[in-house]
C-alpha cells in the first residue's frame, strides 16, 4: 500500500516535469543524460513488481513503516482541535526522509552506480543517505554547509559513524543551498558512477516527481488510518515546508479529496516582514534555482537571498515546484510560522505529549494551532487535523536547549 503509485493529479507533471508554469529542467547539458537515465530507471521500477516488493519489504522491516497515526489528546485540548500526529519521527533514522533514500538507493543499485552524493541541511537527509549507503554498500559523500555542520554537529558524527564522508561547504552562505550547489558540481564531474540522491522534492525533473512518489506513502497511510480511526477524512492536513518533501508526502494522497484542506507552513524566521525568513512562497517570487522553476527568495537581479530559520532543515531559499503549483492553483494554502511560534509549539508538544519534535515539524504543529480556531468556527465543531510529525527532535536538543536557556553553563 505504501508504494501505491496511482496519481490523483493526472497529467501533472507533464513528461518534461512541468507543474503548470513551474518545474522543468534548468541544468547543464552534461547532466541531461543522467537525468534521462534516472527517469527511465524510475519509470521502469515503479511498474516492476519485484522492485516494488523489495522496497515495500524494506520500508516495513527496516524503516518501520507504516508509521503510527496518534491521537494527541492533551495537545488537542490545548489546540481546540482533534490533532492526529503522523509519527514519521518514529521511523528508522528519525524522519520521513528514510522513505526517499531507500527508494533512491534501490534505484542507484539498479542503475549500476556505486557512489551516492547528497546535500543536507539539518543533517537528517545526510544521515538517512549514509544509512542507506551502508545498507546497500555504496560509497557516500555528503555536502553540508559549514554553518550547518556546527548547528548539527551530532548528525555530522552520525554520518561519519555510518561510513560517509562529510564535506563542509564554505562557499556562499555556507548553508543548504550552497551544499546543493556543491553536490551538483560533484555530480557534473562524476555522473558516470554517481547518483545524486536529492533529499527533497525539488531540483531538475524527474527529482520532484520521483521524490514525491517515494514519500507519498505517508499520505496514503495517514488517509486510511484516519478513516479507520475516525470514520471520516480529516478536515485538514498540516505539514512544514522547506524544500517540501514531507508536505508533499502527506498531501499527495489527499489532493483529490477536495474537502480536505491542505496547509503548508513555511519557516517565517524572525517574521516575513523582517526579511529574515525562509518562506519562499509567502515572501519570494517566481525564478529558477537548482534546476527548477519555482518560488525563490531573490533580489531584483535574480541573485538568491540568504534564508533564515531556526530550523536548519527549512533554511532553504526555494521550494519544490509542485508546492509552487499547488499554491498557484489554490489547492494548498501556504503560511509562514515564525521561529518563536515554532518553538512555543515545540515546548507544548514536549510538555503535553512527552514527544520531542524536530524544530522543522514544530512549524507544522504551530501552524495547526494557528488555523484551528478559524476552522472550528467555520465548521461549527471541533476540527480534525492530521499533522505530519516529520521528524524527531534529538538532533535539535542543543539548539532548543540554548533557545530556552536550559543548558547548564560550562
Amino acid at each position: 500500500m505504501s508504494t501505491d503509485t496511482s496519481s490523483p493529479s493526472g497529467g501533472v507533471p507533464d513528461v518534461a516535469g512541468h507543474f503548470g508554469r513551474f518545474g522543468g529542467r534548468f541544468v547543464p547539458e552534461a547532466l541531461v543524460a543522467a537525468l534521462d537515465e534516472l527517469d527511465a530507471a524510475y519509470r521502469k521500477a515503479m511498474t516492476d513488481e519485484e522492485f516494488l516488493a523489495e522496497l515495500e519489504a524494506l520500508l516495513r522491516d527496516y524503516a518501520g513503516t507504516p508509521s503510527l497515526l496518534y491521537p494527541a489528546r492533551r495537545f488537542s485540548a490545548e489546540a481546540g482541535a482533534r490533532i492526529l500526529l503522523k509519527r514519521e519521527d518514529l521511523n528508522h533514522t528519525g524522519a520521513h526522509k528514510v522513505r526517499n533514500v531507500l527508494g533512491q538507493a534501490l534505484l542507484t543499485k539498479r542503475m549500476g552506480k556505486r557512489r551516492v552524493i547528497a546535500e543536507t541541511g539539518a543533517g537528517q537527509h545526510g544521515v538517512a543517505t549514509a544509512t542507506a549507503a551502508a545498507l546497500f554498500d555504496l560509497e557516500c559523500v555528503v555536502y553540508m554547509g559549514e554553518v550547518d555542520t556546527r548547528r548539527q554537529a551530532l548528525n555530522v558524527a552520525r554520518m561519519r559513524m555510518l561510513g560517509a564522508t562529510v564535506i563542509p561547504v564554505t562557499a556562499g552562505s555556507r548553508t543548504l543551498k550552497d551544499a546543493m550547489n556543491e553536490a551538483m558540481r560533484d555530480w557534473v564531474a562524476n555522473v558516470d558512477d554517481t547518483h545524486y540522491l536529492i533529499g527533497t522534492a525539488a531540483g531538475p525533473h524527474p527529482f520532484p516527481e520521483l521524490v514525491r512518489d517515494f514519500v507519498r506513502g505517508i499520505g496514503v497511510e495517514a488517509r486510511q488510518q484516519c478513516l479507520d480511526l475516525t470514520g471520516a477524512l480529516p478536515d485538514a492536513v498540516a505539514a512544514c515546508v522547506g524544500g517540501g518533501s514531507n508536505a508533499l508526502g502527506i498531501f499527495h494522497a489527499f489532493v483529490g479529496d477536495t474537502g480536505v484542506r491542505l496547509y503548508g507552513f513555511e519557516a517565517g524566521g524572525e517574521g516575513v516582514e523582517t526579511g529574515r525568513h525562509a518562506a519562499s512562497i509567502t515572501g519570494g517570487s517566481s525564478g529558477v534555482l537548482h534546476g527548477t522553476r519555482t518560488y525563490v527568495l531573490q533580489n531584483e537581479d535574480g541573485q538568491t537571498i540568504e534564508s533564515h530559520s531556526i530550523s536548519a532543515g527549512l533554511d532553504y531559499p526555494g521550494v519544490g515546484p509542485e508546492h509552487a503549483w499547488l499554491h498557484d492553483t489554490g489547492r494548498a494554502s501556504y503560511q509562514p510560522v515564525t521561529d518563536a511560534e515554532a518553538m512555543a509549539a515545540f515546548e507544548l508538544l514536549c510538555r503535553t505529549e512527552g514527544i520531542i519534535p524536530a524544530i522543522e515539524s514544530s512549524h507544522a504543529l504551530a501552524g495547526a494551532l494557528k488555523v484551528a480556531p478559524g476552522l472550528a468556527a467555520e465548521l461549527g465543531r471541533e476540527p480534525v487535523i492530521v499533522v505530519n510529525l516529520s521528524g524527531r527532535g534529538d538532533k535539535d536538543v542543543h539548539t532548543a536547549g540554548e533557545y530556552f536557556g536550559i543548558l547548564d553553563k560550562e
Partner: protein, 267 residues
C-alpha cells in the same frame, strides 16, 4: 553573420583558432573589470566573454565562484554588466555574455536581449539553459539578432547533440570534460572526440572550454577546435595579484601566452 561569425571565419582563413577570454563583470570592481578585459584585448584575446555574476553558479569551479562573489559583494548589477559590454565592444573586439538563467529571467528575457543588442553584445552563452526550456530566449534572440550558444557535453547523446547544435547560432560551446570550470594539469581526451561529433552535424565554429590554462594547452586545443575558451586561469591572475596593477600585468602575460598558443595550433 554576427561579428563573432566574421571573426571565426577570419581565424579559419589564417589557419588559427580564436582565443575567447572570460572575466566576471564587476570583478574586482566595475571599472577594474573593464580594465582587465581591455588588457586582455590589448594582449591578443580575440573575443571577450563577459560572465554576469550569479549567486549560485553550479557550472563554475572555485576561482570563478570567488570572483563572482567578490563582484556581487561589490554590488554589481545586471545593468552594470551591459555597461561593461558596451565599453569593451567599443574596443572593436566581439563581446559575448555568459550567465545562468535566473538573472536573465528576472531582468526580463526580451528586455535583456534588447539591451544586450543595443550595448553591442553579440550573444549569450547559457550554461544552465538547454534548448528544451529555451522558448522565450529563442524568440528574443531571433527578434534582436543575437547569437545563442548552448553547451554540448561528452555525455550528450547523438540525438541531443544534433538538437542542441541546431538551436545554436554564432558558435557551439563544447565542454571539454565532465566537470566545472577551472584550469587542469592536462587537456581533455574527450574534447577532440566531442568536437568531431559536433562537426558531423554542423558547420558552425566550435569553441572548447573547461580546463585550459597555458599556451601549450591552448595550442593543443587549437589543433582541433575553432575557439579556445579560457576563464579560470585568467581570472586567477587578477584574484591572486597583490593589487590590480600587478594582476593586470599577470593577466597581460598569460593572455599573450595563450594568444601565441592559438596561433600555433598543434596538428
Amino acid at each position: 553573420m554576427s561579428r563573432i561569425g566574421v571573426a571565426f571565419d577570419k581565424a579559419r582563413a589564417d589557419g588559427r583558432a580564436l582565443l575567447v577570454g572570460c572575466m566576471p563583470a564587476g570583478f574586482p570592481t566595475v571599472e577594474g573589470s573593464i580594465a582587465a578585459m581591455t588588457a586582455m584585448v590589448e594582449s591578443g584575446v580575440d573575443v571577450i566573454e563577459v560572465e554576469i555574476p550569479y549567486s549560485d553558479p553550479v557550472m563554475d569551479g572555485p576561482v570563478i565562484q570567488k570572483a563572482s562573489d567578490i563582484a556581487l559583494a561589490g554590488g554589481v548589477r545586471t545593468a552594470d554588466t551591459l555597461r561593461i559590454v558596451e565599453a569593451i565592444a567599443a574596443t572593436g573586439a566581439p563581446v559575448v555574455t555568459m550567465t545562468y538563467w535566473n538573472p536573465i529571467e528576472q531582468y526580463g528575457v526580451d528586455a535583456f536581449a534588447r539591451d544586450l543588442a543595443a550595448a553591442g553584445g553579440t550573444g549569450l552563452i547559457t550554461p544552465d539553459l538547454i534548448p528544451d526550456e529555451a522558448g522565450e530566449w529563442l524568440a528574443a534572440s531571433d527578434a534582436y539578432g543575437l547569437d545563442r550558444t548552448f553547451l554540448v557535453s561528452p555525455s550528450s547523446t547523438d540525438g541531443r547533440l544534433k538538437m542542441t547544435v541546431e538551436h545554436c547560432r554564432g558558435f557551439v560551446y563544447a565542454t571539454a570534460l565532465m566537470g566545472v570550470t577551472g584550469a587542469r594539469a592536462q587537456t581533455s581526451q574527450a574534447a577532440p572526440v566531442l568536437v568531431s561529433r559536433v562537426r558531423e552535424v554542423t558547420d558552425l565554429p566550435v569553441g572548447v572550454g573547461l580546463g585550459v590554462g597555458t599556451g601549450a594547452q591552448a595550442a593543443t586545443v587549437a589543433g582541433y577546435a575553432d575557439g579556445v575558451i579560457v576563464g579560470s586561469a585568467l581570472v586567477r591572475c587578477v584574484l591572486d595579484g597583490p593589487d590590480l596593477p600587478a594582476g593586470l600585468t599577470a593577466l597581460r602575460t598569460l593572455s599573450a601566452e595563450l594568444a601565441e598558443g592559438v596561433r600555433n595550433p598543434a596538428r
